[in-house]
């Protein structure tokens, strides 16, 4: 079994790229791999708790809590979050806050890395 690090720069609502990241993470965990997720740019919106689930929009909160329970490590870029007005106390519990070197260190210790852009 290996370690997969996924970075996601796209916001959940408004893009299906973060949906893809979460589904891929779940599939990898179910096959016994270790998964790290780095959220940067608009991806940091995922760390905002109390998202309302509307039918027209993707919804992450439940999904993210499930990944955390299954052992995924999830970290968001503190600077990207703060610049968007998202502060630590608002984040979903269990999501780490750190800077880019956290991601680089996870890359060092990963067998595979996939970085998913925000555009």
């Amino acid at each position: 079994m290996g370690t997969l690090t996924i970075a996601c720069f796209a916001s959940l609502v408004g893009s299906k790229s973060l949906d893809f990241s979460l589904k891929l993470a779940k599939a990898a965990l179910e096959k016994g791999h270790k998964v790290n997720i780095w959220l940067s740019s608009n991806g940091t919106l995922m760390g905002k708790a109390n998202q309302k689930h509307l039918k027209d929009y993707s919804h992450s909160e439940k999904y993210v809590r499930e990944l955390l329970e299954k052992g995924a490590e999830i970290c968001e870029c503190e600077a990207c979050a703060l610049a968007r007005g998202i502060h630590k106390p608002e984040a979903i519990e269990g999501i780490k806050w750190d800077a880019m070197h956290w991601y680089l260190a996870k890359i060092y210790n990963s067998d595979r890395v996939i970085q998913i852009g925000g555009e």
């Binding site: 299906k16 990898a28 096959k31 595979r112 998913i116």
Partner: protein
Amino acid sequence: MKLGVFVNDYKTVAETVSRLTAEKLGLIFIQNGVFHAAIKENGKSSSLLDKSANFYVLAEDLATRGLSDADVDSRVKIVNYGDVVDLIFNEYEQVVWI
């Protein structure tokens, strides 16, 4: 170099992907990249399928767009998320999203 490429869009990514080479190259069509696997423009399959590579397309992203297995070019293998995980770990060493 064993390179897996997630092709996630249709018209905007073709130039970048067409330049890629690797000893072993895999193109995994997801999101609007699935149109490369399922749409013939002016009767011609996507030029990406002429590359020397293995081709895969994510079943969910086909179905989401109203496309079916019958639409998919015979050179392309239809895969699910579990298959994608196996491709990443077993078939390719570097993986990029374009």
